[in-house]
């Protein structure tokens, strides 16, 4: 009886070890996937704030340019309108 159980038990034992090995691998794959998702989200949010700041800066600069150098602009406007 012990002889019959032994190879089967050994196989089952081995199978469990393999499964645990596979489980470790798959859980680490899931961790990598999670990390990638969260990295993606945080990156996008940071880039979005950067984008906002850039557009705000651009608008301010346009305004200041218009205020400061209106002479060249009036020349431009006159060519458009007359």
């Amino acid at each position: 009886m012990a002889g019959q159980e032994d190879p089967v038990q050994r196989e089952i034992h081995q199978d469990w070890a393999n499964r645990e090995y596979i489980e470790v691998i798959t859980s680490s794959i899931k961790k990598i996937a999670d990390f990638l998702n969260s990295f993606d989200m945080s990156c996008r949010s940071r880039l979005a704030t950067l984008n906002e700041k850039l557009t705000a800066l651009e608008r301010r600069i346009e305004y200041i340019e218009a205020r400061v150098c209106f002479k060249s602009l009036t020349r431009v406007c006159r060519t458009f309108f007359v």
Binding site: E11, I12, Q14, D15, N18, R19, I22, I25, T26, I29, I32, A33, L36, F39, D40, C43, R44, L47, L50, N51, L54, L57, E58, R59, I61, E62, Y63, I64, E65, A66, V68, C69, F70, K71, L73, T74, C77, R78, F80, F81, V82
Partner: protein, 545 residues
């Protein structure tokens, strides 16, 4: 449930059927699972690369923007140090003529369409089944549409919205044009490009010959006037036109230039006896009922222009009539009911036009029929009607006419508006300028061509003649005996030709517009909220396209 953007390929590691000829099944399963794990790792790496690529592209575009910003800041800092307050010459012209600052706002549009789908989702989409190939049936369709559009059309809602917007802009533009129709100055700028019925243009032409050479200069003059500020512009206009002698037309045209709202222009009937007026009105009323198939006919009772002291009066009445049609189509309720009442509202707007000419604040012009009763009792105090203008006939208005002699031009009118004046033929039923009503316009156009042929006829003959002509047309096959009917045939053909052209034009326009939400919206907003002057520029630009 959110849409999955990226999914790792082999979802289940060991949900596979085992081959039968294996002795050690457990090991087999282990090996299969390990192989799937490797496949999962490969798809994971592929998605990671895609993800980092997207992030990198965004960040890269930011570097360009930041660099350009940096350059601009540097340039600005240099130019700021070079600023010298004494060098700057600020003239009034500069302040008013300069284009107002508008920051360039970029509108996000077309966010969720096929081309903007991210790559991994596109791959998922490619894996799906395609819709049935209904497009092979489209060559056999009559209406030229694609067969697949009836099964699935992703751009359906956008197309719907775009059509609605374009239609709204067209409607608004036509409304504005009708308002401007009373301004003979606008002929060269606007009327030429409109597909109005021929009579309107022809009638306008002979009377506007002296104004045509002026029209091209108008824009420059307007800008020059505005250069010195809006406050000074009105004074100039006043001074210019107070002195002009036969300045009936000029003052008229100026009045209209000042207007934005719908108006019925300076319009007056002679001081006819009330009975004669009524007769006139009733006759034209009959005429209106003789054309049953015309959609609610704008009450021709309305503009019985009975007196012209100058020929411009006639053109006034004709040009005013289309402007009145929208009002009467809307408020169709009492058209023949108060026949003597229609004339009084014209003096109201007339008075208001006059008052505007003087630069005073005009009362708002009331919509005509509904406000007629309250309009009449308060006699329009600044009744400044130019001598060439037709006067309101009915007695309630006549006393106010005489009671306000203080206004310079008014003095000329009461003596001239005598009973011995020749009555012009009643103006035609206003031809409907809307393209949708083209079917009725041939009938409407029958009126105007008959009108010019009776310039000074008695009142009785034109209405009956036109009545005859008009009653002939409902029968659809007039005997070609008159030269008039030949002319009318030609006109009808002309109108049909214009219809096709207009369709083609509209189609071309739609193609040109394309899918640009920003331009469509901007056009619509410009048409709705802009001033009439912006409207002019906008109109011209658009028509010139």
């Amino acid at each position: 449930m959110p849409l999955v953007k990226r999914s790792i390929e082999p979802r289940h590691l060991c949900h596979t059927a085992l081959p039968h000829s294996i002795k050690n099944e457990l090991e087999c399963v282990t090996n299969i699972s390990l192989a799937n794990v490797i496949r999962q790792l490969s798809s994971l790496s592929k998605y990671a690369e895609d993800l980092f690529g997207e992030l990198f592209n965004e960040a890269h575009s930011f570097t360009f923007r930041v660099n350009s910003l940096q350059e601009r800041v540097d340039r600005l800092s240099i130019s700021v140090t070079q600023l010298d307050p004494k060098e700057e010459e600020l003239s009034l012209q500069d302040i008013t003529m300069r284009k107002a600052f508008r920051s360039s706002t970029v509108q996000d549009q077309q966010l969720f369409e096929r081309q903007s789908l991210p790559v991994p989702m596109q791959e998922t989409y490619e894996l799906c089944e395609r819709p049935p190939p209904l497009n092979i049936l489209s060559p056999y369709r009559d209406d030229g549409k694609e067969g697949l559009k009836f099964y699935t059309n992703p751009s359906y809602f956008f197309d719907l919205w775009r059509e609605k917007m374009l239609q709204d802009t067209e409607d608004k533009r036509k409304e504005r044009r009708k308002q401007k129709l009373q301004d003979p100055h606008m002929y060269d700028q606007v009327y030429k490009y409109l597909d109005l019925p021929v009579q309107l243009k022809n009638i306008d032409r002979p009377h506007d010959q002296e104004k045509i050479p002026r029209a091209p200069h108008d824009r420059k003059k307007e800008w020059q006037k505005r250069a010195l500020g809006a406050e000074l512009a009105e004074d100039e206009a006043e001074d210019k036109h107070k002195d002009a002698n036969g300045s009936a037309r000029l003052s008229l045209s100026l009045c209209r230039q000042m207007y934005i709202d719908q108006l019925d222009g300076p319009f007056s009937l002679a001081a006819l006896p009330y009975s004669q007026m009524n007769e006139l009105l009733n006759r034209t009323g009959d005429r209106s009922y003789g054309r049953p198939h015309e959609p609610p006919p704008p009450p021709p009772t309305y503009p019985p222009a009975s007196v012209i002291s100058s020929s411009s009066g006639f053109s006034d009445s004709v040009t005013q009539s289309p402007a009145r049609t929208p009002v009467f189509l809307n408020s169709n309720a009492p058209p023949p009911a108060p026949p003597p009442l229609p004339p009084p509202p014209p003096p109201l707007p007339a008075s208001q036009s006059g008052s505007r000419m003087r630069g005073s604040a005009p009362p708002p012009i009331p919509p005509l029929p509904s406000h007629q009763p309250p309009a009449i009792p308060p006699p329009p105090a600044p009744l400044q009607i130019a001598p060439g203008v037709l006067h309101p006939a009915p007695p309630p208005v006549a006393p106010p006419l005489h009671s306000s002699p203080a206004r310079g031009q008014l003095d000329k009118t009461p003596p001239t508006a005598g009973d011995g004046m020749v009555l012009p033929p009643p103006p035609p039923p206003p031809p409907l300028p809307l393209p949708g009503n083209r079917s009725s316009s041939p009938c409407a156009s029958s009126g105007p061509p008959t009108m010019p042929s009776f310039p000074s006829g008695a009142v009785s003959s034109p209405p009956t003649h036109s009545g005859h002509e008009v009653r002939r047309y409902p029968s659809n096959l007039p005997p070609i005996s008159d030269a008039r009917s030949v002319l009318l045939e030609a006109i009808r053909k002309g109108i049909q030709l214009r219809k096709v052209e207009e369709q083609r034009e509209q189609e071309a326009k739609h193609e040109r517009v394309g899918n640009d939400v920003a331009t469509i919206l901007s056009r619509r907003i410009a048409v709705e909220y802009s001033d009439s002057e912006d409207e002019d520029e906008f109109d011209e630009v658009d028509w010139m396209e």
